[in-house]
């Protein structure tokens, strides 16, 4: 056994060691095989098409069994007024492998006069299966997670030979992102090979034109396989014929349709593409159909559903524009993590708001305080001025008074003097008078 050893992340340094012994993990595939057989498999197939296109017959031919028999009549025997979605479960075993097969039929599709919205019950059914799976996956106590999701949808196109009908296009456009759609040309034994070729080309052209995403075969590393896949792709959409009867042709017992002009053999690849369909659907790509349903269609449904939940309570302040750019980062998280993120954003938003409000507050306070200071200063100034004024007046008055007092004092002094003089002269006179008398 050769063991290659390579450290991921290191440069391409391959160490090749030829060792005698073996390790044994090459048996892992066997272990997986064993376990899967023990578990058993399940597959859900949906068939859609107008009544009379041979859907039930094709299913019977595909699985070589009488899914619909006289005991369990298929939906084709019943007339429906509206589109129904009916399930039928069977358990089949082959080579030790057990398969729980569910066929979902859609009787009434396209049969009414007005077929607008006839796809709605189908879409609802697919979504309800996704919802069931999502709910059981999201439970706290998970036991078994039964997978009843639709893994594949066979869409039957009427063999008009011209092109797709508006109903076909509408249906496929609405369902191509929810389920693996495989379009089939039904009752292909009404078309000659050339007509069939034309028809196929036309259909594929229209499918591309309307950007319908039908189920694509995955690329593999294997050259051989890729070549086979390419051959199949060239034959899309597959033209099929189904039959419930076995006819003897050239001493072989084959399934086919007996006509006066010959037998159209179901499993003859020259007659129709039935074998290609069977091989692709059952023998090689059944697992891939399930994987694509799980990894792509279901995940789309889930992320849309959960994104809707988290944006449920969006307040009106968020502009619509904001939402769309946020989705890129949001989708990388779980709803709870996203709420955490929102909480953090809210905290920063609030902090910013707080800072802003704080700033405005400070500014206003400063203004007011400044105003007060100014008026205080003004007051002070005026008070000083007035005081000066008064003092000046005071001084003036003092001066006036002083001058006046001086004047008065002077005059009074003068008066006194005069008075004294007068007194003196009076007394003198008096004395004189007195003296004269003698």
């Amino acid at each position: 056994m050769i063991v290659f050893l390579r450290r991921p992340g290191a440069s391409t340094l391959w160490q090749q060691k030829n060792l005698e012994g073996y390790v044994g993990f090459a048996s892992l595939p066997n272990q997986v095989y064993r376990k899967s057989v023990k578990r058993g498999f399940e597959f859900t197939l949906m068939v859609v098409g107008e009544s009379g296109l041979g859907k039930s017959t094709l299913i019977n031919s595909l699985f070589l069994t009488d899914l619909y028999s006289s005991e369990y009549p298929g939906p084709s025997n019943r007339i429906k007024k509206t589109v129904q979605v009916e399930q039928c479960e069977v358990l089949i075993k082959e080579g030790g492998v057990q398969l729980l097969l569910t066929i979902v039929d859609t009787p009434g599709f396209g049969d009414a006069v007005d077929n607008s919205n006839c796809w709605q019950p189908i879409i609802d059914h697919i979504d309800s299966k996704f919802e069931d799976y999502l709910n059981s996956e999201s439970r706290v106590n998970r036991r078994q997670m039964p997978d009843s999701r639709i893994h594949c949808c066979l869409y039957f196109i009427a063999p008009s030979g011209h092109g797709l009908k508006p109903l076909d296009i509408e249906f496929m456009k609405r369902l191509h992102e929810k389920v693996n759609v495989i379009p089939l040309i039904a009752k292909a034994d009404t078309l000659t090979p050339e007509e069939c070729q034309q028809f196929k080309k036309q259909i594929m052209r229209e499918i591309q034109e309307h950007k319908i995403k039908i189920y694509e075969f995955p690329e593999t590393d294997d050259e051989e396989e890729n070549r086979l896949v390419k051959k199949i792709k060239d034959k899309l959409p597959l033209a099929v014929v189904g039959s419930n009867t076995i006819i003897e042709v050239n001493s072989k017992r084959v399934r086919g349709r007996q006509y006066p002009w010959g037998v159209a053999e179901v499993e003859n690849s020259d007659h129709c593409d039935f074998t290609i369909l069977r091989d692709m659907l059952i023998r090689t790509h059944m697992q891939d159909l399930k994987d694509v349903t799980n990894n792509v269609h279901y995940e789309n449904y889930r992320s849309r559903k959960l994104a809707a939940v988290t944006y449920n309570g969006v307040d009106n302040n968020r502009a619509k524009g904001q939402l769309s750019t946020k989705l890129d980062t949001v989708e990388g998280m779980s709803p709870l993590a996203q709420m955490e993120e929102e909480r953090r954003e809210h905290v920063t938003k609030m902090k910013k708001m707080e800072i802003e409000m704080e700033q405005v507050f400070e500014m206003k306070v400063k203004e007011k305080v400044q105003k007060l200071k100014d008026s205080e200063a003004e007051l002070q100034r005026r008070h000083e001025q007035m005081k000066k004024n008064l003092e000046a007046q005071h001084k003036e008055l003092e001066e006036k008074r002083r001058v006046f007092e001086e004047e008065r004092a002077n005059w009074e002094a003068q008066q006194r003097l005069e008075q004294q003089k007068l007194e003196a002269s009076r007394t003198l006179e008096k004395n004189k008078k007195k003296g004269k008398i003698f």
């Binding site: 044994g24 706290v140 593999t220 779980s334 008066q415």
Partner: protein
């Protein structure tokens, strides 16, 4: 990663049908296997054991290569875990193997917390997977699964019994990971001692309620070999990457003076059994058990911790959506409350500041009034003084005028007198 969907039991409506020919869905397991091979496999082993007990050597021996290891010292202050990932290939099968070794396990004086880093590591891997699973946009099929699938617990070959550290650690881990106990360095125990040792270990595990990994018995193809192997637990192993020539072959062995211990000789040790069970037969089952049992337990506990329930108080089933919505409501209410609180606080502050400023204004106003009054008083006083002065002045001028008048009068009187005198003098 292999598909993990569980087939449901057929409902009552599912009826068995017989097939008229070969349909071809018996290739389904092959389709599944091909896909798994294409994607590659992934396996994570955790080795717990004391320093120097032979963990790295055993890994090298098991996987036939030389993982880059280096010897660790005995003086690590704490138990650490070192994980290394390698891409291996055998024929067409690619395996991404992660080997996690404990560093410093059992070296500390106080080993009470020794198990904690290991438990934390295991939980971290679970958490990482859970986070991916809960994301809105997730890619589980591309996710590199780092959860620990198998835990090899290395028991010291004392020959007596398990150490209490062993019991404590294994008890903490048995609900989180598949524990496979191995007796390390088994070439130091004799056959009889080994037999007694194994019995003692198993009984101690049972009496302490430690759930080790049991090789599964539900698949008939391997039930028999698994039952036998379950009876040989714990495996006594010897590891060696050196080769010794025995007979005409080079075999992995340890050379002693008294003989050669051959790793792959089933008489010498249980290495081959371990390899068989761990890798060749049950690797896939170990992965499945980790995912469906240990991880689910972790997930359940974590979700319950976060407040998720499957049924609400009235025992009606609650969908995930309802729980998320309820949480979101709570969350929005909380945010709103915070906003309101902050606004309230601000309104309060504004009010307070306003009051302060008003108070200051009023003060200023009263001061202003006061000064005005002072002014008025002073002015009044001044006016009074002025008035006084005016009064004095006017009274003075009156006096003066009066005095002057008197003087003038007296002068004229005197003049008359003089005149009279003069006149009288003539007589």
């Amino acid at each position: 990663m292999a598909s993990t969907d569980v087939a449901r039991q057929p409902d009552k409506g599912a009826r068995p049908l017989s097939l008229a020919g070969h349909v071809g869905f018996d290739s389904l397991p092959d389709q599944l296997v091909n896909k798994s091979i294409y994607q590659g496999f992934c396996f994570n082993i955790l080795c717990i054991g004391e320093t120097g007990i032979g963990k790295s050597t055993l890994m090298d021996t098991l996987f036939n290569t030389n993982f880059e290891n280096f010897e660790s010292s005995h003086f690590e202050p704490q138990v650490k875990l070192r994980a290394q990932t390698y891409d291996l290939q055998e024929s067409n099968v690619r395996l991404r193997l992660t080997v996690v070794n404990t560093v410093g396990f059992g070296d500390q004086m106080n080993k009470q917390e020794s198990y904690q880093p290991v438990v934390d590591y295991i939980d971290r891997q679970f958490e990482s997977y859970l986070q991916e699973e809960l994301k809105i946009k997730r890619s589980l099929h591309n996710y590199h699964d780092s959860r620990v699938h198998a835990c090899l617990y290395f028991i010291s070959p004392s020959g007596h019994s398990l150490k209490s550290l062993d019991l404590v650690t294994m008890k903490k881990l048995d609900s989180k990971v598949n524990i496979i106990p191995v007796i390390a360095k088994a070439d130091t125990i004799s056959k009889s001692e080994l037999h007694k040792f194994k019995i003692k270990i198993m009984s101690e595990l049972v009496s302490n309620g430690v759930q080790i990994y049991q090789f599964p018995l539900d698949d008939e193809t391997v039930a028999k070999v698994n039952t036998t192997m379950n009876g040989h637990l714990p495996f006594a192993v010897v590891g060696s990457t050196e080769e010794v020539s025995v007979g005409n072959k080079m075999v992995k062995a340890r050379q002693y003076p008294w003989g050669v211990v051959q790793v792959e000789n089933e008489n010498h040790c249980d290495f081959v059994k371990l390899r068989e069970m761990l890798i060749c037969v049950n690797m896939e089952d170990l992965r499945e058990q980790t995912h469906t049992r240990h991880y689910e337990l972790y997930r359940r506990c974590k979700l319950e911790e976060m407040g998720f329930k499957d049924t609400d108080p009235e025992c009606k089933p609650v969908s995930l959506q309802q729980t998320y919505e309820a949480k979101r409501q709570e969350f929005l209410v909380e945010l709103q409350k915070r906003e309101d609180e902050m606004r309230q606080m601000f309104v309060q502050r504004v009010k307070e500041k306003e009051a302060e400023l008003k108070e200051a204004e009023r003060e200023l106003q009263s001061r202003f009034e006061q000064l005005k009054r002072l002014h008025a008083d002073e002015k009044a006083a001044l006016e009074e003084k002025k008035r006084l002065l005016d009064d004095d002045q006017s009274s003075f001028s009156k006096r003066r005028a009066a005095a002057q008048l008197l003087q003038a009068q007296s002068l004229t009187a005197n003049g008359k007198k003089d005149k009279d005198r003069k006149n009288s003098g003539f007589m």
